[in-house]
Symmetry: C2
Subunit: 365 residues, 2 copies
């Protein structure tokens, strides 16, 4: 693989950028002075300033408005002091930018005008136009310009999760149509997830080139698959998506850290790693010490406070946090996060206090 050097202006490269930020160091297997922390879905409805800024703007329009997307990306950094921003966007943005008729229906999720179920449907999926990601790159660049030494995380949906929306035509409880397609028509399925991988790879690449210092691939639904089905039908495509940024390096040859998060049973955590991730995001159902055992001591981990704790009293919430922080010391690196996204009804002050607690922890040990 030919390597592509990131430009001197990239935050991972330029002096005073993000290379020594706690998030980047932890994801590269180092132990910064404090445990870095960010929250999945931190740019979202839990923040009153988010609700005001988004007011009346449909989700995908907000993602494609560079000024608004950058503002929403920055809000949680300003408010909570988290160690990373994550680009305000949506996993179906590459589909929309390719010209697929998809929209986000409030309270329901992504809905496709036409499900994709045959090889002809897959072949008819449009190519991404050159410069398709211009509004995404602009939003990322605007955010990066304000973030200074705080890293921006780029993200994309994993091919299975994306493909499941296409096959079902929208959200579904058990992804049965997608799971049937992968068993019934493996070639059509492979063509579909390969195409999804290419969409997601291009999405990640655009975000990194615009200044993201790390990426995360989200596979929200991988947990509905038996392990052997994940391995034979899905993992290669996720690896292809993650490989989309593998050639991008700093002058020292260091790559852009890639986090692979899935809601999965413990038995699939090592597969998330084996898809070519630098770090594994652990959901709340696998205790972090167990996850580290399964992944081995060389793999940085991210996670994994159960979001259910956010609505509980502070003392037991912080005790649960401390157990996770203690467990995280056994990994090569640890980024504190929730085990899933921030629930919309979360009190933002709880998150702010949680960030402070995580930051104070190492010093207080």
């Amino acid at each position: 693989m030919g390597l592509v050097e990131l430009p001197e202006s990239h935050p991972l490269v330029r002096p005073g950028g993000t290379a020594s930020a706690p998030l980047v160091r932890a994801l590269r297997g180092d132990r910064p002075d404090r445990v870095p922390v960010w929250f999945m879905r931190q740019a979202g409805r839990s923040l009153p300033e988010y609700r005001r800024a988004r007011d009346g703007v449909p989700m995908l329009d907000a993602c494609l408005d560079p000024d608004l997307a950058a503002e929403l990306t920055l809000q949680p950094v300003r408010r909570h002091g988290v160690d990373a921003a994550v680009l305000f966007s949506d996993i179906v943005i590459p589909l929309r930018l390719a010209g697929v008729d998809v929209d986000i229906v409030p309270g329901r999720g992504p809905v496709l005008a036409r499900p994709v179920r045959t090889m002809a449907d897959v072949r008819a999926l449009p190519e991404l136009p050159t410069d398709a990601f211009a509004p995404v790159a602009r939003a990322a660049a605007l955010a990066v310009a304000e973030l200074g030494d705080v890293p921006l995380i780029g993200f994309a949906g994993a091919p299975f999760t994306l493909a499941a929306y296409l096959v079902e035509g929208g959200p579904s409880k058990d992804h049965l149509a997608a799971r049937t397609l992968m068993l019934a028509e493996p070639e059509t399925w492979r063509a579909l997830v390969t195409r999804m991988a290419d969409y997601s790879a291009a999405f990640l690449r655009a975000q990194v080139l615009a200044g993201a210092s790390a990426v995360q691939l989200f596979d929200s639904w991988a947990g509905s698959l038996a392990p052997e089905v994940y391995r034979s039908r899905v993992r290669d495509a996720s690896a292809r998506a993650l490989a989309g940024v593998a050639d991008l390096v700093d002058p020292a040859g260091r790559g852009v850290p890639r986090i692979h998060f899935g809601l999965v049973c413990p038995g699939l955590l090592a597969d998330l790693r084996d898809a070519g991730a630098d770090a594994v995001g652990v959901d709340h159902r696998t205790p972090l010490d167990r996850a580290i055992e399964l992944l081995g001591p060389d793999v940085p981990v991210q996670g994994n406070l159960d979001p259910a704790w956010l609505g509980a009293p502070e003392a037991p919430r912080l005790a649960a946090t401390d157990r996770i922080l203690a467990a995280g010391r056994k990994a090569a690196g640890h980024v504190f996060n929730l085990g899933h996204g921030v629930p919309p009804q979360t009190d933002p002050d709880v998150l702010t206090a949680l960030v402070a607690h995580v930051h104070d922890w190492e010093a207080e040990r």
Copy 2:
């Protein structure tokens, strides 16, 4: 525990009843001549005769109409030749019969008029009136009268799944309100799941006394819990529900077989067993041979063809079936089933052919 002998007229007791039926034998750890098979949600929308009979009748009304419920219970036995009927009912029936304002909203699921979130709410939950289950018992008795030596399976929802509906007020994606309650207010939670266990225990008991030859406790949502949370907050309540029929025995002192099914990660299968089940229902995500390793060779298992195979071509579907049948030979007993309920869009002929294939398998080895 004092034992209560089932009456002479009970199918498990009377000559020519169900004690030697393949299902009952397999659940008791025996190897009948053929592998018994039934399907979760076999009485349902996949059958045209079901859609005709249910036409216009709301779900819970259908459950509480003894003639209709018995008819719907019998339909899949007549059509597919399955080795068991499962009573047509719903896990919220005990709530409805206790007087809780709950309804099934088509396309959505159970919806409560008032969520249950405080200790006062829990204390206000009504007691089950004496003879509350009369319409359920009548439906079961009508079905049993026609079933002859084919066992009727009684069923109930596990306390966590039931409690989650009460706390959320309806279906939810991640059961966050319920999971927060169990962390934030363990005493309120314990009171709630204990009450749910008592409802479900009474529901199971009514079905057995009316002629059911086995029972199954369903915990559809247990998979959303971390193992230690399941063990500390949920398992005892499930054990209490299963214990509700533990004292019912035949004259030889043999109990009524109890199946415990949950959609769970492999790490929780042994907990399903340890809650006092005689057999464990395995979902499609844990390969059956792995489940048997985890449970040990003394535990009968049920499962676990992925429902996604029902929409796939026959040859690979039957190959997957054969792999499960072969794996099942390593368990103390094996009941073939799907790994989850029958999808409504299933072609019923596929199920009929699958039953015949399972029945022919042992002979053809």
